[in-house]
Amino acid sequence: MESGTDEAYLAYVHGRIPALRRIGYLLCGDEHQADDLVQETITKLYARWPRIAAVDNVDAYTHTMLVRAFLDEKRRGWWRVRLFGSPPEHAAAVAGAAEDRTMLRGALAKVAPRQQAVLVLRYLCDQSVAEVAEILGCSEGTVKSQTTHGLNALRRILGEPRPVQRSGGGR
């Protein structure tokens, strides 16, 4: 345990807060909760920093903590109350777009939490299957299956016809 590591922590956190906020926001769709998720993540990050700083991929470790914070919040149900009790303020710029976003976000919220995380990480955060597997601590096959299940669930919720499959899924 050594004081220099504190500066590394600060430098790391200051550099990563924008990206962490973005991921948190894409996961939950609420900037206030995104800030809460990031707050929880960087708190745990500090508590574990002397060890985390020794791992090969600190970003992956931090993203894992963020996603786990999101999943924990889902289990506690706070997010659901927040979402439907108070629509995101920033979504009102264009009425139609805002409605689409709210509907889509509501549909995504009904998907199983881990599937939500997989879909967001893959399609909104542009993470590869391998990267998502590392973040979630599971196999690439599980990520692919969670992707398929999540998309199917979204289709059902949104009432969309299943598109014709011309090629296999999975990156």
Binding site: R21, G168, G169
Partner: protein, 413 residues
């Protein structure tokens, strides 16, 4: 349309950035993170508003201060081989080793390091034999350094008195004079350096001995705040960091690294960053074999938000003013580097590799004590002659009581 195309199209409306300003409180994260740590270690609240910034003055790191080739402090020879052994933990199922002295004979740690509650004991080893087992005097004890006489310094957090600098000698803890604060390093002469006062207005102090009154280290003109980074050399030279006054219109305050020399003078030291347009903060880590080892935190200066670009390990010869790059351009890569007092700068991967001067010593993880496939090894001390290295083996680092931390020692020759 395959699943990936469908998913991308479907979720595209949700893409976007949070619109409002962040409501993230790094200071609170650190305060709460501190409480979550099983061993508290100090951190200055004043630093939260600060990112160190030293402007670019050069493009290459090695920069001798004199035109003549200086005679540099020699490095110890790299050992040819090392053997791994367990450090005894007595009656404790789990323990760690947290630091060692320059000779490699004294080491300290604590029992049950993964416990979040209950009493932990300070453990002391001499020549690899467990010779000390003492109940800790406060709710949180953070020991940082030991010298060649077996005197250990650190701080104790007692709920009634707050965090105070402490010393451990001959099996007993006692508070250093001066009130609230932290003891950060000790040299083999018994001189201790640390901080006293609040987190926001700390002062750097030196205790000439464990029983002495604290002496304030004079800050350079115009530097109102001292930071936590401190190292002390065998001759009493102290290296530390101060926060400079915020420049008009600046977003971040700069910091500066100083030496407090035995003759009472101070000297600012600045390592040239490796590239133009780079901010570099210099954190002293430890004095070893005549060199001051430090980490240079590099960041992109093109943005008001400092984005870390890497950490470079450097060392400085105070006698000649020579800087040398040791290695590592990212703090997650490369071998580990000894730091001031307890522990290492965990610059390395989980492989046990440590710098000996500018060379790298690879340490073996051998069965049955260690399984190189699953064990993480965090190094905690290396002797000046590089013959003795200690560390902690862990599996996962998750605090799982079924996978206790194990203190180990490598003996090299």
């Amino acid at each position: 349309m395959n699943d990936d195309e469908y998913g991308t199209l479907l979720l595209r409306p949700l893409a976007g950035e949070p619109a409002g300003p962040p409501l993230i409180d790094v200071a609170r994260a650190i305060r709460e993170g501190r409480r979550m740590r099983r061993r508290r270690w100090a951190f200055g609240g004043a630093f939260l508003a600060v990112f160190t910034a030293t402007l670019v003055t050069g493009s290459l790191l090695i920069a001798p201060a004199t035109p003549h080739q200086p005679v540099l402090p020699p490095d110890p020879p790299l050992p040819k081989s090392c053997t791994l052994a367990a450090l005894p933990t007595g009656k404790y199922h789990s323990a760690d080793v947290a630091g060692g002295d320059s000779t490699g004979r004294w080491h300290f740690g604590q029992s049950n390091p993964q416990a979040n509650t209950g009493t932990q004991h300070t453990l002391v080893w001499h020549d690899g034999v467990l010779v000390g087992d003492a109940a800790q005097p406060g709710s949180e004890v953070n020991l940082r350094a030991v010298n060649s006489s077996g005197v250990i310094v650190g701080e104790v957090n007692d709920k009634t008195t707050g965090i105070r600098p402490y010393v451990y000698r001959n099996g007993k803890f006692s508070a250093l004079k001066g009130g609230l604060g932290e003891a950060l390093a000790i040299n083999d002469d018994g001189t201790i350096v640390g901080r006293l006062g609040s987190d926001t207005h700390p002062v750097l102090v030196r205790w000439r001995s464990a029983g002495a009154e604290p002496e304030r280290l004079r800050l350079p003109e115009g530097s109102p705040i001292a930071m936590y980074n401190l190292a002390i050399a065998p001759d009493g030279t102290v290296a530390g960091v101060v926060i400079l006054p915020l420049a008009p219109g600046a977003t971040f305050a700069e910091t500066a690294t100083y030496l407090w020399l035995p003759d009472g003078t101070t000297r600012r030291i600045t390592a040239p960053p490796p590239a133009r347009d780079t901010l570099a903060a210099l954190n002293p880590l430890t004095f070893r074999n005549g060199w001051l080892y430090a980490e240079q935190v590099l960041s992109d200066r093109s943005d008001n938000t400092p984005v870390i670009a890497g950490i470079q390990l450097v060392r400085y010869d105070p006698a000649s003013g020579t800087w040398q790059k040791i290695g590592g351009d990212r703090f997650t890569d490369g071998p580990q580097l000894p730091s001031s007092g307890r522990g290492f700068l965990h610059a390395g991967t989980i492989r046990p590799r440590v710098y000996v001067g500018t060379a790298v010593l690879d340490l073996p993880l051998t069965m049955p004590l260690a399984d190189p496939e699953v064990d993480n090894a965090m190094l905690q001390s290396i002797s000046d002659d590089a013959h003795t290295v200690t560390g902690v083996l862990s599996r996962g680092g998750s605090g799982d009581p079924s996978q206790p931390d194990r203190p180990v020692i490598w003996r090299c020759g």
